[in-house]
Subunit: 292 residues, 2 copies
């Protein structure tokens, strides 16, 4: 078996060939430019590989309605060159193998639930905190799409009373997670990039306050069994303990369950970094293969 | 076929016998007192009915882990007499038929998705806004349990800047939905019961502001296809238009989908009132029957 996986990110594309055990046999990356410039590189990588199927784990928003003629089209992205681009159609027309599309974060959630930090669980949330904030969601063993697909980055939050910003940097929402806690919002608030802020900077208390609110929301809405926090901002190692402390404080003893007693396990980093998305894409390919 | 359904609420119990078409053949209610006083009434109703199965749609928190010896036990409720009460075990030991338990709001979501306001949809959220606030969630055709079960009542919210209250009335959380928007919180804020506030009172603008935040959270977290708002507080008919208006404002054009253009359908009342819970319980009974 040979599964192709494309992790289509906002800044780079990762292409891989994986076997049925989800071992990465070969992979490469290229920058995300325009479809005209980028697609030939992607298709070159996969062509001649005798793939059994291919999976696409892409930035969103993306049409995931399998009954739609626009299935696998990128939709209302601010990356104008990609708006309405038929990513699925372009891949399938060239590669002529079964293909399944999902968001990069849903694919990562699937990978982590299959082999990683949420192994053996039917419910997990995978969040990436970087240039943007996005979330993938597995509920009762199913990747959630709903109307479009989960976002998580734009959930409404309460402002911290000591936040020097009176509103987040999101152009759509006054107070949302991405506007208050993404990498660019940290840089906007403190004047330096997140990775240059020392671990005793109070930036991290604010960041933990906002990410803990995300965790409360995840527990109250879908009662998830694992909250996996990845992405560049989470490289600051002081964040996890601070988030768990704030989360415990915010829950205020309301939820009672053994998992709530064990926040180190409940709120954790991904186990498959940096390959959650690529492996997730190959798991989608496997599903595409099995459903034909 | 004869299915028994128990809708166990905080103030009253509703018992019903339904046929396989989910028609209610007979039903009755009694006040929720202590288990010692209430259970005999419940069991009396069902005994001698030749039931094929029974479903329990109950207030929570309740143990929904089918592998647990405490399955169907009420857990950490403030209703002290019911804490740790083995509701499932008591019913099954007496009635000796297959039985399935879920939350009252999950059962209502299931009923609405089967016959009501979310018919033919795989994703819906059912929220009741009354003495408390609770939510049931169907994602991709599955009732979500997760670690415990969804709550929704305690999601964190932003305070309205003109709210006379600086914090909600929830003993656990400073700013959560139930603490800011439940019936008792309305009464606490304005000094009169919600049902005595006229439709031009600004109470309803605040209420709509908080319930619209709930809707934003539902769309951003699970991208649900239908938000069904029931419960006593929703009897104020001016609320729905106000919530939809606020929701549209809060989304700020971020989500793009035909359903977002049609908020009258997306955010709506239940269609099966007052029987969503009772029918949901019978649908659980049917599942219990079919799985044996």
């Amino acid at each position: 078996m040979r599964f192709g996986s494309l992790e289509a990110g906002g800044t780079k594309m990762v292409m891989g060939i994986l076997n049925e055990n989800m071992q990465i046999l070969r992979s490469t990356t290229c920058l995300t430019r325009t479809p005209e410039e980028t697609m030939p590189d992607i298709l070159d990588f996969f062509e001649g590989e005798h793939l059994d199927a291919v999976g696409i784990a892409t930035f969103g928003p993306v049409n995931l309605n399998e009954n739609s003629s626009e299935y696998g089209n990128i939709t209302s992205t601010p990356k104008l060159a990609w708006r309405n681009f038929p990513l699925y159609r372009t891949m399938v027309d060239t590669l002529k193998v079964p293909c399944l599309v999902d968001t990069d974060v849903n694919a990562a959630a699937l990978a982590e639930a299959t082999y990683g930090a949420a192994r053996n669980l039917n419910n997990c949330l995978y969040i990436t905190v970087g240039t943007g904030i996005g979330g993938g969601l597995l509920c009762e063993g199913k990747l959630v799409h709903g109307m479009l697909h989960p976002e998580w980055g734009h959930i409404p939050l309460s402002r911290h009373e000591d936040d020097p910003l009176t509103r987040g940097i999101c152009p759509y929402h006054t107070l949302c997670l991405e506007g208050l806690a993404s990498g660019p919002s940290i840089q906007n608030r403190w004047g330096v990039p997140a990775n240059e802020l020392l671990e005793d900077h109070r930036a991290w208390d604010l960041e933990a306050f906002y990410l803990a609110q995300l965790c409360v929301t995840a527990l109250m809405t879908v009662s998830t069994e694992r909250i996996i926090l990845g992405g560049g901002v989470m490289n600051q190692s002081v964040l996890f303990p601070k988030i768990r402390e704030k989360l415990s404080e915010m829950l205020g003893g309301y939820l009672q369950h053994p998992r709530i007693e064990n926040l180190e396990e409940l709120v954790c980093p991904p186990a498959l970094t940096p390959n959650s998305g690529l492996i997730g894409g190959a798991l989608l390919a496997k599903r595409a293969y099995e459903s034909t």
